[in-house]
Symmetry: C2
Subunit: 583 residues, 2 copies
């Protein structure tokens, strides 16, 4: 059945000789190929060897290694390409002549007795398996994962090169059934104490992790272990889970799971920056859980030190250190006693005289309060089209050039700010107005004397109109400042304003008050029982992962997987259609 | 001389009446206008009033307040526009009739005796003044600042609406003369214990600050004060100093100054994210100073916890807390004992199997090591055009899809990585190669056994070629991992590799080793003596800043500044040309 095609490069006695074999439509898994490559390279007279599925990327890699004869340049992704570079033509020929024998010897299934040929058979053999590990080549992976979900099993999907559309479809299917798909391109997880894929041997303990980042989870769990703190569960989501197309389905399931896991005391979330739409959902879920959460979003600026239950780390090692400290703390997480206001369009309006105060505030709340606008935006989609009219949540820097041409800075002259305060207060969609009060040399001699009557007036008007309007003032100053800050604070408080003394406090208060909690999209919860030991799993793909399961004491069965129709995709497509018609 | 123009809106007895006066080409400073507006609004029968230079922005603001009669819509930026809204026509007319009288009464110079009319005269009166405070309208500000520099004085430039080109020109002039320009749009500074512009009354102490952010400096100094820690100097740079066009001239001067100030023990730098080209210079300068530095770049991800002398904060309050802790510490900053390698093209190449490790590493070093490239870049300009060929500093994620299609992950199969190691080692411009070694379940059973001989080989080859090649390995694993990490570390060390256990350590080592120190562009240093008390300064512009100087015990003279030719720019241009010709 197999058609062997030996392509001969021109012999040159003074130089190494390169010979290759191309097997169109043949398939061998990556482990077999690695072993074949090594065996060939070790043969007498052989200088170097290559054994790859002839994808464009692999042909290019061979070319860089000077292992791609011209004749093999036209090979296709479905073809198995074997190349040998040797000192003599005879050595090269002899090496290629031994390929079949070597492939035979390396086939693990033959060396290790009976293996089921299908996932269905394997699940009959190990019916208690709640997990299926999938590490077949990317183009086949979604199909295997789908089959696992249809059998009611959770999936650990190691394979990469799976499309985003397939990922979203798989996760939606899983979510609707209360199942979890970790991956694709999920490198690691720890489920019930057993590492899946690549995982370090860490002690069991109180920290649960959710990570869209394989080596991120590994580095953090290792650091925790070094600090003497153990792991309850580690959920890998795959690197794209927090992209807009997927919506963080697995991450949200993971947070929900860990919030209800009695063994978990602290949660760590690690990911590259989530899509803006997803970040808010993830942080709200983290908040909702009520357990302390350490979040590390690589490459994005921390919105704050902490908002409610969520703390923000700057590095993987810091995330581990923060979690370790929380895990050994005797007390639980003190819940900030701020109630969320009623849902509905209840907006924040910030009227700042200090540009940096406005910027740090925007940075802190932009993830949770959407849509948010500013005349001094961080990203262009936040730009307020008309600085004179607020919309949604709006933070204004009234010290910006467009407000100060030919007039005094709002730290001296509050006229404009008072007018704007009345304008915002009259908007029935506004729930909270934030004003900074920057004291000190050069600033207004008594800002509270002007602000307080206006604050009392707008609050009273709102109350008359049947709504509660909150005023939050951020007072910046020292006790030595000429305005006498304690008396400023007192006057503002008497007028009904709440006073905070730092941007961090303002971020925390506003976020907890206005960000809301609901997330209507969640499906049924993933069963905690699926994360309890003893773990049982079916492996489809890399042998190494199967052996690792057994070594760790899990019950496991491995499928002797072959691509449908021997790797020939056209034929596989026809077969799939025939099966569908037959139904 | 003045032409009064009373524009009358149609009277309507049932509605308020709006009347306005336009004075073309007239000038009044912002304080006078604020006082006039308040005085008018307080007159009997007056409901609201406006008194502004009629810029487009101000006309729009009046319109929002329903204070812009149609007739005034065509006013120009040079015109003084006064509007009154009153209950009756008589009340409006009477109010407008009192404008001259009110302007007269509010003119501070007339109320407070003789004032010099020019900067030159003022400097003759107070020759020891080393600082000139400029807060005149933006379009005149650069001219006044230039005059101050030409007189050999430092400038505190509060004015906004100054062009970027003018800012760059002023700062280059200043730098060449060892003078400093704080601003434009510099809201605050503390020089020799005296606050300039807006500044809080904070105790004197050991923390020196450099800030491209006015309220940032104010919030941090206030927090320091609340923590019982004082300020030596606070240098404001203006918000655009760290933009590419300006190049951080003032920030670099400030860092240099504080590094040599015997009263400063800890330095804080605060800014919105600097331009990429500027960030490296600023961080190198911070490093070079040898004092502990706390950096807070709002809105940008921290590259690490710490690199050498520089620590990174996540918020203004945290920046203050970190600085306070360093300031009260008994010990000095322990200098990391890593020597920088010789200058010249000495590049880093990172060959990662862990994507997140590569990402965090790139995040950490991208500011200091330029140009840097990757197949998994953070910003698109970092993308490596051909993943098979490195250039400059390069960090590769060898676990990315393009390297793993149809082959095993580099954590299992190191073949490709070993080839790439030899390829990079052969490049004479490479000084340091970084390899991660991720241990644990599923990973290669003994990676060091393959890496060590290759490491020894490439180091030996480089040595033969007359150059030193360093290999840094980042080992991730726990002591329980099946590969026995301690023995892996030992084998790698014996082969001549340096071993670190966290990305943070790797960032620190690589940055200090390869980032270099030199910054050839610096001008002569700014004189520390200019920052010593007693402070003497000339004020040109806002009266409030002059009074604040006197209140704080500084010697000060204020110029009774008027725009050239009474605010008529055309005439001023002609006069300037005549003066030039006359020279």
């Amino acid at each position: 059945m197999k058609r062997n095609l030996v392509v001969r490069a021109l012999a040159n006695t003074r130089h190494p000789v390169t010979r290759s074999t191309l097997r169109p439509g043949a398939y061998a898994d990556s482990l077999v190929l690695m072993q074949l490559q090594r065996a060939l390279a070790a043969l007498p007279g052989v200088l170097d060897a290559g054994a790859v599925m002839a994808t464009a990327a692999n042909r290019e890699l061979l070319a860089v290694a000077d292992l791609l004869p011209e004749e093999a340049a036209g090979a296709r992704a479905d073809d198995l390409l074997i190349v040998v570079k040797a000192t003599t033509e005879t050595a090269a020929e002899e090496a290629l002549g031994r390929v079949d024998e070597l492939l035979q010897a390396r086939r693990p299934s033959e060396a290790q007795g009976y293996r089921p040929r299908s996932l269905a058979t394997a699940l009959k053999e190990l019916p208690q398996a709640r997990w299926v590990l999938v590490s077949v080549p990317g183009r086949y992976a979604a199909g295997v994962a789908r089959e696992a979900l249809e059998s009611g099993r959770n999936v650990f999907l190691y394979s990469d090169n799976v499309s985003l559309a397939d990922e979203a479809a798989l996760k939606h299917t899983a979510q609707a059934r209360g199942l979890m798909v970790m991956g694709p391109d999920c490198g690691t997880a720890i489920v019930g104490g057993v590492g899946l894929g690549f995982a370090n041997r860490v002690r069991r303990g109180r920290v649960g992790l959710v990570g869209a980042s394989g080596t991120g989870l590994q580095a953090i769990t290792c650091r925790l272990d070094a600090l003497g703190v153990g792991v309850s569960q580690a959920v890998g989501t795959g690197g794209r889970d927090l992209a807009a197309d997927v919506g963080g389905i697995t991450a949200l399931q993971g947070l929900e799971l860990l919030a209800h896991d009695p063994e978990t005391r602290v949660i760590v979330v690690v990911s590259k920056p989530p899509a803006a739409t997803v970040a808010g959902r993830v942080l709200r879920a983290a908040q909702r859980g009520g357990r302390p959460v350490v979040a590390y979003f690589l490459g994005s600026a921390s919105p704050a030190h902490r908002v409610g239950h969520v703390r923000f780390a700057r590095s993987m090692s810091e995330a581990a250190e923060m979690a370790a400290e929380l895990a050994v703390a005797e007390t639980g997480d003190e819940h900030p006693s701020v109630a969320a206001v009623d849902p509905g369009p209840r907006y924040l309006r910030g009227l700042f005289s200090g540009g940096t105060l406005a910027y740090e505030m925007l940075l802190g709340v932009q993830t949770l309060l959407t849509p948010i606008y500013s005349n001094a935006p961080i990203s262009e989609d936040e730009r307020l089209a008309d600085p004179l009219r607020s919309r949604g949540h709006t933070l204004l820097d009234l010290g910006a050039d467009e407000f100060t041409a030919g007039r005094l800075h709002p730290m001296i002259d509050q006229e404009l700010r008072l007018r704007r305060l009345r304008q915002e207060a009259a908007d029935p969609e506004v729930a909270l107005i934030l004003l900074d009060v920057v004291l000190g040399e050069g600033a207004h001699a008594d800002p509270a004397s002007e602000l307080a009557p206006a604050i009392a007036e707008v609050r009273e008007k709102a109350r008359t109109a049947g709504r509660e309007l909150e005023i939050l003032t951020l007072v910046v100053g020292t006790d030595e400042d000429p305005q006498d800050p304690p008396s400023q604070v007192e006057v503002l408080t008497r007028a009904g304003a709440r006073v905070v003394r730092g941007v961090g406090e303002a971020i925390e208060y506003v976020s907890l008050r206005l960000a809301g909690n609901a997330d209507p999209d969640a499906g049924p919860p993933v069963a905690l029982a699926d994360f309890r030991s003893p773990l049982a799993a079916v492996n489809v793909g890399l042998e190494a992962f199967f052996h690792s399961l057994l070594t760790q004491g899990a019950a496991a069965v491995s499928v002797d997987w072959r691509p449908p129709a021997g790797g020939n995709e056209k034929l596989a497509g026809i077969l799939a259609k025939m099966r569908k018609k037959g139904k």
